[in-house]
Symmetry: C2
Subunit: 206 residues, 2 copies
C-alpha cells in the first residue's frame, strides 16, 4: 500500500474515550473541564433512574428516566452499555453514539467499570482511562465531605471504590488526580496523542 | 494481583522514544524544543562519520568519529542500532542508553527508519513517532532552501524522503509538521500520554 501525506489529513470514524473512576475521585469535574476546551469532542449523555442532584440539568448531565422506561429501552437493545451502580440503573444510548462516531466525531463516555468492559468489547479501538484519587485516605475524606450522603451510603461507596480500583488493570491509561489543573492537562494529552496514532489513519502493517 | 494506588507513583524502566523523519521535515528543531521543556528526558547522542555542520557541537549534537573508529565500535557490538544514510554512518551507543533506561530515565532517539526498526526489535515497549512535512512540495522547497547542499545531494535527499515516508506504516504516531509550535505541543502530548499507560506501572492483565 502506498501512503501519501494526504492520508493523514482525513481520519476515519470517531474515537470512543471511556473515563471511569470510583465516586469521589473527581471524574465529573475533570471531564467537564476537558470538554469545555475540546469543541471537537462530544459528551455522551447517559440515561439514569437516579434522582437529579442539585445543579444537574436534565438532558445535559443525564437523561433522568423512570425504571420502567429504562427497562423498556434495555429490552429494545437501545443501550451500548448499561450498569447497576449503588442500586440505580445507568445506560449509554446506542444510536446517537454510533451516529457521532460514523461522522468522525470523538465521544467521551463517563461510565463505570462494568459499562467500560461492555464498550471495550464492542468498540475495539476505544480508549479507556481510569481516574485515581491521590490516596485511599483522601478518597474517604472526600466521600465524607460531600455531606449530602447518608453514613450508610458513604460506607457503601467507600467499599465499592476499593473494589473498583482493582479494575484499573483492564484500562489503557490512568490519571492520578492530585491537582485538577494537572489532571486536566493529562487527560487532554491522552486525547491529543490518541488522535495522532498512525493506525487511525491507515490500516496497520507489520 | 492486588493493585494499590501507590503502584502508580513508581514506574519501571525508562521509555525509549524514537523520532524519525525525512530530511527537511523539521525533526531536529522539533526534538530540541521538546527536550528543552522536558528536564526528565535525555537525548541519545549518536556517533556519526559525517562532518560537523555549522553550529553543531561535538558531544552534544553528535559524537563525530572516523570511519575506522565507527567500524571498530560496530564490530565490538557497541551500537544499539546503526544505519548508513546518504553514504555516512550513524549509530546509537548502547551502554549509556541501557544505563539510563535501567535508572528509569526516558530517552529520545533521533534516528532514521533503518535504526528505528532495529530499536523496535530490541526494546519492545519503545514508542515510535514519524514527523511528516506538510506536503511533498513544501519538503522540496525546504530541501532546496537549505543552500548548503549541492544540487545532486538535494535530489538524493528528495528521492530518499519519498521512500522513507512509506515506512510510517511501522510507526506508532505521526506528527504533521505544519507549524512548529503545534508540532512541539503534539510531541509533548505523545510523551505525556505514554507515561500514563497502566501497563508501564503494572503487568498487563486480560
Amino acid at each position: 500500500m502506498t501512503v501519501s501525506i494526504r492520508s493523514f489529513t482525513k481520519r476515519g470514524p470517531g474515537i470512543v474515550f471511556i473515563v471511569s473512576a470510583p465516586s469521589g475521585a473527581g471524574k465529573t469535574t475533570l471531564t467537564r473541564k476537558v470538554l469545555s476546551n475540546c469543541p471537537d469532542m462530544s459528551l455522551s449523555v447517559s440515561c439514569t433512574t437516579r434522582a437529579p442532584r442539585a445543579g444537574e440539568i436534565p438532558g445535559k448531565d443525564y437523561h433522568f428516566v423512570s425504571e420502567a422506561v429504562f427497562k423498556r429501552m434495555l429490552a429494545a437493545g437501545e443501550f451500548a452499555e448499561w450498569a447497576e451502580v449503588h442500586g440505580k440503573l445507568y445506560g449509554t444510548p446506542r444510536r446517537l453514539l454510533e451516529r457521532q462516531l460514523r461522522r468522525g466525531r470523538d465521544v467521551l463516555l463517563d461510565i463505570d467499570v462494568q459499562g467500560a468492559r461492555q464498550i471495550k468489547q464492542h468498540f475495539l479501538s476505544a480508549v479507556s482511562i481510569f481516574v485515581l484519587p491521590p490516596s485511599l485516605d483522601e478518597l474517604r475524606r472526600r466521600l465524607a465531605a460531600r455531606g449530602t450522603d447518608a453514613r450508610k451510603t458513604i460506607e457503601q461507596r467507600w467499599r465499592n471504590a476499593r473494589h473498583e480500583i482493582q479494575e484499573i488493570q483492564g484500562y489503557d491509561y490512568f490519571i492520578l488526580n492530585r491537582d485538577v489543573k494537572e489532571a486536566v492537562r493529562r487527560l487532554a494529552a491522552i486525547i491529543a496523542a490518541e488522535r495522532l496514532k498512525v493506525c487511525r489513519y491507515i490500516p496497520k502493517q507489520k
